[in-house]
Amino acid sequence: MNTSFAATASTGVVGQTNGGLLQRRIGKLWQALGPLVIFIVMFGIVAILTPTFVGGGGVTIVASSAAPILLVALGQAFVLNIGSIDLSNAAITVLGAILLAMTLGPLGAVAPLLVLVIVTLFGAVNGLLVAYMQVPSFALTLGTLGIFQSAALVVSGATTVYVESNGELVSWLYTTAIASLPMTFLLGVIVAVVAWLFLRFTRPGQGMTAIGKNESGAIFSAVRNRGLKVVAYALSGFMAGLAGTTIIAQAGSASPMGLGSDLLLPGIAAAIVGGTSISGGVMNPINVIFGALTVALVPIATTALHFDPSTQNLVYGVVIIVVVALTLTRSRSATVK
């Protein structure tokens, strides 16, 4: 009898009794399903209030708007998951889109691959600097953000670059849809699923999460923290490049200040609304899908519901805060930064 009590008490989970345990499980369930539920509720409200919106292709609109946000957010989530941040990924998206627009004509099908390799390297450079120079990522990627922006201006000649030919090599991604979901979005979903498998079922994936949870502990557990950081940033660059590809698929052109240049904040917001912890170590790529959908839905919903345009920013801000407050993982520690 005594020993059994000792066993319960010696868990160190003081206060985590059966009731607490149940609460924790429910918390975990909510953590897993919260972003999905919130998106469905929000979409449901829009659908009920303006039934024509859904009939008029609302799903397609939300999904196609969400596609580049999703891809950028997945990359960002990988970086957030190792406890860092990548402020340069949207700039990489634009640079990638410009490079693709320039090369698609002359190089054809090679161009997307080449551009993806290049932007992955850009991401890797971020990662190398963060990992081996041991500098704070926020400041570093703020710096490389400026460099990538300049590169976009210089490469494009500070003008809009159009795809001369072979546009159909990527444009099908935007124009074809399965179950009214455009391929650009499905590409994001596929990437998310692969990312989910990678994080759950591979040693590098688990190592990354370990770094985000406790880097010192990971180092002493022989996790290759530097290499994995480089990989996380390279993935961020790669996914930014995919986002750039969806932009070319959608618009057939790119410019330094055009489509994609404003993806940074929606990308971070989508990652966090999707349950990614900003302090690292918590990431579910599947939920990032719903994070991106939610972030994309808000401006569309305010328009579809005929909010006055002048109130839409206010609503956007409020919704972001409320949604994150609802989906946040609060279990880990009392200290929130």
Binding site: A139, I268, A325
Partner: protein
């Protein structure tokens, strides 16, 4: 088979003073490394000034000094708030939104080309109060709902911007009609622009607060270890909310000043200030993880970046390369700062 390599001293009890003095020698070294960063920053500033002066003799003139300080003033004011927030380990991204809200409120309550009432002193009080309210909202949502400050303030950025948009309405662009107001900021007093004196005064006050008040020391304590602070019975939540209120008020003030500087405003008045100020805070050496840094460093950081941007224009560097150069210098600066501390086990987030 005892292999004694050194003669034992035979002193069994350990003298405390010996241990303490060991501590002291280490202190001295750390004080040196502590001021190392600002010294390096000043060094970098001197080098930049030397280079730019050589490239264009007009760089090192009183007029340009006044110009640089005038431009640096608003980022310095915002930087004071940003530094306080970063010191407690949080971040405030709402700057531009708060600036917009208070800027628009300010112009609409002053004598302006849209007509309406000149509310006198209330034209200053209400926008500042707006900044305080938004700052308080930041702090309260952050501490009560435990939403990361990054997200709360990101949302508040849009909320502030939204408030500005609603206040602005659809009428014509409002301009201040009072010349005293529009000329005040850049007016030269005692050799330097008014707005710089104001910014400098705020920096000094903030530096003194950080050095000499319980509030200031508590900021460092919370940034160092929030859990210990809480276990010590420190009013952590109250402190955080207060810090965000101060940051909100300073953003509000910056919104008013920017409006005065422009002679009018729209909801876009704050654009660009956040991503000008944050790098300056970081280059100054305030750690984003909290607990380390200060407003004087931020002051230096802002001056450095402003000199850089000004110098690039004066040196005739193509605008295409300007952001790359600023970015590259930011990268070099933080790499240089981190270089000596590299180690196998060092964690940099």
């Amino acid at each position: 088979m005892t292999n004694t390599l050194a003669k034992p001293t035979g002193n069994v009890s350990v003298d405390t003073s010996e241990l303490s003095s060991a501590g002291l020698t280490r202190t001295r070294r750390n004080i040196l490394s502590g001021i190392g960063e600002p010294v390096a920053l000043l060094g970098a500033l001197v080098v930049l000034i030397a280079i730019f002066s050589a490239l264009n003799p007009r760089f090192a003139t009183i007029t340009n000094l006044q110009n640089v300080l005038n431009q640096a003033s608003l980022p310095i004011i915002i930087g004071v708030g940003a530094t306080l927030v970063i010191l407690i380990g949080s971040i405030d991204l709402s700057v531009e939104g708060v600036m917009a809200a208070s800027g628009v409120a300010f112009v609409l309550m002053s004598a302006n080309t849209r007509g309406g009432q000149d509310m006198g002193i209330w034209a200053f009080i209400v926008p500042l109060a707006l900044g305080i309210v938004l700052g308080a909202a930041n702090g309260l949502i952050y501490t009560l709902l435990k939403v990361p400050s990054f997200i709360v303030t990101l949302g508040m950025w849009f909320i502030g911007f939204g408030i500005a948009t609603i206040l602005y309405g659809t009428d014509a662009y409002p301009e201040l009609t009072n010349e005293t107001l529009t000329q005040w900021a850049a007016k030269i007093e005692l050799g330097l622009p008014n707005v710089f004196w104001l910014a400098a005064a705020l920096v000094i006050v903030a530096a003194l607060v950080l050095r000499y008040t319980r509030f200031g020391r508590a900021a460092l304590a919370i940034g160092n270890n929030e859990d210990i602070a809480r276990a010590n019975g420190m009013p952590v939540r109250k402190h955080k909310v207060t810090t965000f209120i101060i940051a909100g008020a300073l953003s509000g003030l910056a919104g008013i000043l920017a409006t005065m500087q422009m002679g009018g405003t729209s909801n876009h008045i704050g654009e660009g200030y956040l991503f000008l100020t944050l790098p300056a805070v970081v280059i100054g050496g305030t750690a984003l993880s909290g607990g380390k840094g200060g407003v004087l460093r931020t002051f230096l950081g802002v001056i450095l970046l402003t000199v850089l941007n000004n110098g690039l224009v004066l040196a005739g560097v193509s605008p295409n390369f300007q952001s790359a150069l600023s970015g590259a210098i930011l990268v070099v600066a933080i790499v240089a700062a981190a270089w000596s501390q590299r180690g196998r086990l060092r964690i940099a987030k």
